[in-house]
């Protein structure tokens, strides 16, 4: 993949910063076309190959190191920065907000929803994207791997929520405003317009897609957005539903290639989340663990479990139609207390309620 494209690590890009023109030519002609080769090779080796004086090589290496190393940030300053720049987005589901520390999602963090089939993962992620679009006028990318995104369900949630509010208002005021209902119902069209759905059925497509998102965000943050990529200006959340189905066929066994793809994807996700302060909501499925096969754990193994900042586990017990139980709790988190709060929830017409 890297063979054709420009990686940004070619020696000639660093001519202005640390290298003189003749050195660049010397490096390129003697087998050092990439900057990382210069950084990690032995100085004597370089001198023997390129006949550049030792001192210059030392200076170049030091300059390059300085260029690439990150800058230390004062802890207090960092705290202030985060307080100022981190945004909180309410998920629209009270119990989920409470679980996540009262404020809902934090920008730039990666959330993972884990649960077995039909436990409500897709419902929660649809509710969240609806609310983010409704409350904050933000744009959302929804990457759908099992074709389960349902706009009619979103309209249903919106309508029944709206009717509930209307009823409460009517009880208070005893008035009927029929004109207002129509205006509000137009709103749903705008809300839906802010959610963009991508269908994605294999891991390579996902990698491609994340790459495109990353590049477009890069362009948008530098220049004035054009009509096509205007959407990315207000992008606040990316939902991936579900990562398990996408990655499961390529990992496991002795497939190192699949593992490599997974790590590429995870690095891209982390990069996008941190650089552009975008919240990721990722759903993952479960695999049975233990001898009896009745305990569940998140799919994709140890390597993937390092990626999300917060992992939310959903437990679904199905006995009868009346006797259904769904529990949600925090399984893993860098910030929030673990398993102290276990909330039960139900899926109704108007979304998710406790």
């Amino acid at each position: 993949m890297e063979e054709e494209g420009i990686t940004g690590l070619e020696v000639r890009f660093y001519q202005a910063q640390c290298l003189s023109e003749e050195n660049v030519i010397k490096f390129e002609n003697n087998g050092y076309p990439m900057i990382d080769l210069i950084l990690f090779s032995d100085a004597y080796q370089i001198q023997r190959n390129t006949s550049i004086p030792m001192e210059t090589i030392y200076i170049i290496q030091r300059n390059l190191q300085r260029l690439f190393s990150s800058v230390p940030i004062n802890g207090y300053q960092h705290y202030l920065d985060i307080k100022e720049f981190k945004n909180h987005y309410s998920s629209g589901i009270k119990l989920l907000d409470q679980l996540l520390g009262g404020n809902g999602f934090t920008s730039g963090e990666i959330y993972e929803l884990v649960g077995n089939t039909s436990c409500g993962k897709t419902q929660i992620s649809m509710c969240c994207s609806l609310n983010l679009s409704q409350q904050y006028d933000s744009n959302i990318i929804y990457i759908d791997s099992s074709n389960s995104f349902s706009p009619s369900r979103l309209t249903e949630i919106f309508k029944s929520n709206y009717l509930l509010k209307q009823q409460q208002k009517q009880q208070q005021q005893h008035k009927q405003n029929n004109d207002k209902i129509e205006i509000e119902q137009d709103k749903i069209l705008k809300i839906l317009d802010r959610i963009k759905v991508f269908n994605c059925f294999d891991s390579i497509t996902l990698l491609d897609l994340l790459g495109t998102i990353n590049n477009t965000l890069c362009v948008v943050s530098d220049e004035r957005p054009t009509f096509e990529n205007q959407f990315y200006k207000g992008l606040k959340m990316v939902v991936i539903d579900s990562i398990g189905t996408l990655l499961a066929p390529i990992i496991g066994g002795k497939q190192t290639q699949g593992h490599y793809t997974m790590m590429m994807i995870s690095r891209l996700i982390k990069d996008i989340a941190d650089t552009y302060q975008i919240t990721f909501l990722i759903t993952n499925n479960t695999v049975s663990s233990g001898s009896n096969g009745f305990d569940n754990k998140a799919a994709l193994g140890e390597a993937w479990s390092m990626v999300p900042n917060h992992q939310l586990m959903i437990n679904h017990q199905y006995n009868d139609d009346e006797n259904e139980e769904r529990l949600i709790y925090i399984e893993k988190s860098t910030r929030l207390p673990k398993k102290t709060m276990i909330k039960s929830f139900k899926i109704r017409d108007n979304g998710i309620v406790s």
Partner: protein, 346 residues
């Protein structure tokens, strides 16, 4: 040079037709690949456009059991994978036959008017049964068409059977390669609206030393199916068997669909058929847009129907096709029939 090559090709193709076919296939395949890359570069669809797309056109294949159809918002949805599982003899294959036949209901009557592919792994396909169901469908449609004489397209038993493509598959390698080859076929026949795999379980039931390999090959198979479903706007119905799962603590066993945890996430819709009080029930277990619930259904000579449904031809032994004009003057024979007609039109 080009001329020479062309001549060579001609000679070659005269020698055997097979290579000619291969070339044709290659062209189609290249088209497919080109289209695929275009399709990947698309900018995504906004949810609003999706909603509008969903609203127009007939996007469901009805099952003829009104309660199941209501449960699914009008029938088996296009562009999605639906899994139907249940114990042997519950009617999975019957459901498949009914869907195969119902695929050719004309647009004007709320159908999708397309062709169907049946991939048979168990050898349970029965031509006679499909023909029987098709005959009853034709009778029924004629009955409906009497009310709407403007509709010109009238399916016959022959056209219905003509629009069903049957594949027999024995080994899991065969089904995997078949699924890989299907896009070629679909590229040629774009009016295919349904793919039924009956059942997905059987080829994967044994023969696997490495269970991880089984899961991976199954998942990639499902991804391919899903891909076809969205690209060609067709419904995929997958039949699954059930297996017992024994919990050590509670000392009881439950019936669960086969193929394990990771398979369950692939399907968009999931239905479980089961017996309860000597009655067949259909339980919608997983759905992104509908509530989970269960409803009774029945299997009769004429296919899948509501419980308590009485076919008009049983009340009118004369048959509709013989005395059409008489029928037109008469009122519909009973209320049940009337309801069913209404239900097809909507």
């Amino acid at each position: 040079m080009d001329e020479n090559i062309n001549k060579d090709n001609e000679n070659f193709s005269n020698d055997n037709n097979y290579s000619n076919n291969l070339n044709e296939d290659e062209i189609i395949f290249n088209n497919y690949i080109d289209n695929y890359s275009n399709y990947l570069n698309s900018n995504g669809i906004s949810a609003l456009d999706l909603l509008i797309k969903d609203r127009d056109g007939n996007n469901n294949i009805i099952t003829f059991c009104s309660e199941i159809d209501q449960m699914l918002n009008g029938g088996i949805p296009l562009k999605k994978i639906t899994e139907i599982s249940g114990v042997p003899g519950i009617g999975k294959t019957q459901m498949a036959f009914q869907l195969l036949v119902n695929t050719s209901i004309p647009f004007d009557l709320g159908g999708v008017q397309g062709k169907a592919i049946y991939i048979d792994t168990e050898g349970s396909y029965s031509c006679h049964r499909v023909r029987e169901i098709a005959t009853h469908l034709v009778d029924h449609l004629e009955c409906v068409l009497l009310k709407n004489p403007r509709i010109e397209y009238k399916p016959t038993v022959e056209t219905i059977l003509n629009s069903i493509y049957y594949y027999r598959v024995y080994h899991y390698i065969e089904i995997i390669s078949l699924i890989h080859q299907l896009p070629l076929f679909l590229e040629k026949n774009k009016d295919v609206k349904l793919i039924v795999v009956d059942s997905i379980t059987y080829p994967f039931r044994s023969d696997f030393k490495d269970m991880g390999l089984r899961t991976r090959s199954l998942l990639s198979l499902a991804q391919n199916l899903m891909n076809m479903a969205t690209r060609y706007n067709l419904a995929v119905v997958v039949m699954n068997q059930v297996t017992t799962k024994i919990s050590p603590n509670q000392k009881e066993s439950i019936l669960v669909p086969y193929l394990g945890e990771s398979w369950t996430h692939i399907c968009t819709y999931r239905m479980v058929l089961f017996w309860k009080q000597k009655q067949r029930f259909c339980h919608l277990y997983k759905s992104p847009s509908n509530k989970s619930c269960f409803n009774p259904f029945d299997i009769a000579e004429y296919g899948i129907r509501d419980v308590g449904f009485i076919h008009p031809s049983f009340l009118n032994p004369e048959g509709q096709s013989q005395n059409k004009q008489q029928q037109q003057k008469q009122q519909p024979p009973n209320n049940n029939n009337d309801e069913n007609e209404m239900y097809i039109e909507t």
